[in-house]
Subunit: 342 residues, 2 copies
């Protein structure tokens, strides 16, 4: 169905029904000049936004519309998680090119809404406009956090251990493989059996925010700084170091990269270490914690969530800079090389 | 200066300095995963978003970068105003094409920030990404409103008077004239003396939200429904009627169109009535109020702000539909013809 056959307000009516969730805090939802929410006063309000642009963040030839919507919302939930918060309410602005149908637009919203359903929050408004060429999705998400649980990038302390949840590099490996399958002449990628990289593919297509893990970590006084991984470990450790006024040392052999990611990296001729350090969108958490509480904190999170946590380095004095210690014991300055927008 | 010469984080550092405003409620501002705000509990929270897309909402050949930023922020402030609220905090996501320079990007933020300065709120975060072709600006704004002052589109009552602040049609007339000057072959537009359409031009280039007027109206118990004019009077009255479950009657001869707009419309061969009914982005307020409080309410607002208010029609029963009564006394069904995105 063409968008022009139902128009802007017809589209909004349809989308509104798809993304409705009962929520007692919503006084006015979609359809007025602004959404109106009842707030509790004990908590701090979090605000975050992520924008996804076609040809930059996603490719309609690789991802389904539902996956594009899912990914757009996950990025914001991951940001709220990294502050120790609980997602509150989302607005979605979408710029729709002329070649997109009503059904495809609804699939994008189904993806967005699935994340909201799974993590218990509502989409309460937004803006739908036309776009001359590219599909652009802009998500705004509020969140709440008790002041004592607030986590920032700026609170790392010298001698803290640096930790990572789950595994790194998978999302980027999956993306490279999907791209090479799309362009089969470039790489004989189809030679790699599908069941051997399915998990890695899903790290790119269906990323998951570490909301529960983040909330558990935020309650621990020994956890000091936290950030989510959107641009690779090197970049995120760099943000923590700069904003906390400290240095950092990363131990190469401790960086968690899964077996499927390693095998796929080998097949693609990419270094697994590069994927983990500079690959984007794993949405894992990087955090620093007091070394003497290591055992208790890691055990608490792993027992409750089943998510493994790796200790990958330590916080040093600022003047030591940010370094990686290789498996051979060499100390090399670490430079972030995440996706460069410009 | 090329964006690539300073990169994403260099750009964020520069923009951060330009848009800084001291704000005691900001616990964490730009530079973490989310902005963190201290909230008061007595008020409702408002959330709104507007996205501006190049070639759809603006034209870099007609508007300066500063004007584009100004316009993007005004749209959201006007939405918060229309709910009876006070702007709280803004996030800005911007998609930057490769041909835009650091200086031009800073001008966009200067425009955004000027609105924040003038209406007393802060920009506390956002996202900066690259765009394959078009400049896209997405503004997200929170606001606060006391529950007793909340204004929606859904509260109009039969027999209410329908009112409009200021004058209509100017923004659209200014846009059409600017477009025809850009393409001089089409119209001998330059024959029209500049000082005779300067005010109208500024209605398009420097629109102003009616924040103070909206707040005064919201405090009056006799004011029932409110909306801002982004798509012309016909569309906005239609939204109020549908969402309140009422009909409406608009009196053609009462619709306020300024002298400059009328003269420019004549020069351009457009009907001034069409501009007022279907022209976009005047950012005036349309509201309904109890007829018996007319004198007191209009006097209170006009004395305090100097803004004129016109009574342009009345709310009727739903089954009568939405009609316009022409100067000759004819009753014609009114159809909204605002900008069709698709």
């Amino acid at each position: 169905m063409d968008l022009s056959s139902i128009g802007e307000f017809g589209l909004i009516d349809r989308l509104k029904k798809r993304i409705f969730r009962p929520d007692r805090r919503v006084v006015v939802g979609i359809g007025d000049d602004a959404a109106v929410l009842r707030q509790s006063s004990e908590k701090l309000l979090l605000l975050t936004t992520d924008v996804l642009v076609e040809r930059v963040h996603f490719d309609r030839r690789i991802q389904s519309y539902r996956q594009i919507g899912w990914r757009a919302m996950v990025a914001s939930v991951s940001d709220v998680a990294a502050m120790g918060g609980e997602p509150g309410h989302a607005l979605v602005s979408i710029c729709l090119p002329a070649d997109i149908t009503v059904e495809q637009t609804e699939e994008v919203y189904d993806g967005l809404h699935s994340v909201a359903e799974e993590y218990g929050f509502s989409i309460v408004g937004g803006d739908t406009v036309s776009s001359p060429r590219d599909l652009v999705i802009s998500v705004f998400l509020t969140g709440e956090v008790r002041e004592e649980n607030l986590m920032t990038r700026a609170a790392a302390q010298t001698e803290d251990l640096i930790c990572v949840t789950g595994q790194l590099g998978g999302a980027q490996a999956g993306l490279v493989m999907l791209q090479s399958l799309k362009d089969k002449e470039k790489t004989p990628a189809s030679a790699f059996p599908e069941n051997e990289w399915q998990q890695v593919r899903d790290r790119h297509l269906w990323p998951r925010p570490r909301l529960r893990e983040a909330q558990l970590l935020a309650r621990e006084a020994g956890v000091h700084a936290m950030i989510d991984v959107s641009d690779g470990l090197a970049g995120e450790v760099g943000h923590i170091a700069r904003q906390s006024g400290v240095g950092a040392e990363i131990w190469e052999q401790e960086i968690p990269v899964g077996q499927q990611t390693r095998r796929l990296a080998e097949h693609l001729g990419i270094s697994p270490l590069d994927l983990a350090l500079h690959g984007g969108e794993d949405f894992e958490l990087v955090f620093t914690m007091a070394a003497d509480q290591r055992r208790r904190i890691l055990q608490a999170v792993t027992e409750e969530t089943g998510t493994s946590i790796a200790v990958v380095g330590k916080v040093t004095a600022a003047q030591e800079g940010i370094n990686i210690v290789s498996s051979q014991g060499d100390r090399i300055p670490l430079v972030a090389e995440g996706y460069r927008h410009f």
